[in-house]
């Protein structure tokens, strides 16, 4: 079987890619998608450790993370739609007003 390090590296790679996406992309939708990548990376680690210790708690937490991701996506996309309706843009750096 595989050493745990493999999974950690995979998680790390996805996490870093996600972070790069969040920091560098301008399109809010892509930023949200990058966040999903990050959450996913965390899930991989949790499940790998759950397997290592033979305890399903890790998987349960991964479930919670997925639920959280759903909530985040719903609200985030709701905001994007509301924003797009008003400003007709989905670029992050054009979101420069506190109130519209």
């Amino acid at each position: 079987m595989l050493p745990i390090g493999h999974y950690l590296f995979l998680g790390l790679a996805l996490f870093i890619i996600g972070v790069i996406g969040v920091v560098t992309r301008r399109n809010v939708i892509v930023i949200l998608m990058s966040i999903e990548l990050i959450l996913n990376a965390v899930n991989i680690n949790l499940v790998a450790f759950s397997r290592l210790y033979g305890d399903v708690a890790g998987q349960v937490f991964a479930l919670f993370i997925i639920a959280d991701a759903a909530a985040e996506a719903a609200v985030g996309l709701g905001i994007i739609i509301a924003f797009f309706r008003n400003r007709e843009t989905v670029l992050e750096d054009e979101m420069d007003l506190l109130k519209w």
């Binding site: 972070v19 790069i20 560098t24 991989i44």
Partner: protein, 172 residues
């Protein structure tokens, strides 16, 4: 041996499509590659014998959240995405964060490997039929030990639902 091949296969797909997710100009392509990455992750879950999580990943993530994403992408204007600059901003911040993260995990693995008497732990190979039934185990854990967090998560989802409805509602 089979395990390793499966792992490398899915890991490679996950990483490549994750990279493509953040580098594609076209948001729809990004979404497609994100779906691929999520499916590959589901494959990794399966390789880790977490079947329930595998199907939850597919139903919820791919079948739910990503559909929402694709929906919104089609509702908002796509032309912007094509014209935008890709990596103009905060290149250095990104590099710094990724280096720091890589260093952390590397340090952790290195120090674990150095510890006397034990190397990096290896996942034990258990034949599939010897494992406890996965969905039953998860359910037990979820509804006995983690009942309260489960309820809180449901409230969170409710709040998110209301929030999304309020945000996306057409103001008249």
């Amino acid at each position: 041996m089979l395990d390793q091949v499966i792992f490398y296969f899915f890991a490679a797909i996950a990483v490549i499509s994750a990279i493509l997710t953040v580098t594609r100009r076209n948001v729809v392509h990004s979404a497609i590659f994100l779906i691929t990455a999520l499916l590959a992750t589901a494959g990794i879950f399966l390789q880790l014998r977490a079947e329930f999580l595998f199907i939850v990943q597919i139903i919820l993530y791919v079948g739910g959240i990503m559909v929402l994403f694709v929906f919104v992408i089609m509702l908002v204007n796509l032309d912007v995405a094509v014209r935008q600059l890709r990596f103009a901003r905060q290149k250095w911040v990104a590099l710094l964060i990724s280096l720091a993260l890589a260093a952390q995990v590397g340090l952790m693995l290195w120090s674990t490997g150095k510890m006397p008497g034990q190397g990096v732990p290896v996942l034990a190979a258990v034949p599939a039929d010897k494992l406890p039934l996965n969905s039953e185990a998860v359910a037990k854990s979820l509804f006995e030990t983690y009942l309260l967090p489960f309820e809180i998560a449901s409230v969170l989802l409710l709040v998110a639902m209301i929030g999304a409805v309020v945000m996306a509602k057409k103001r008249t």
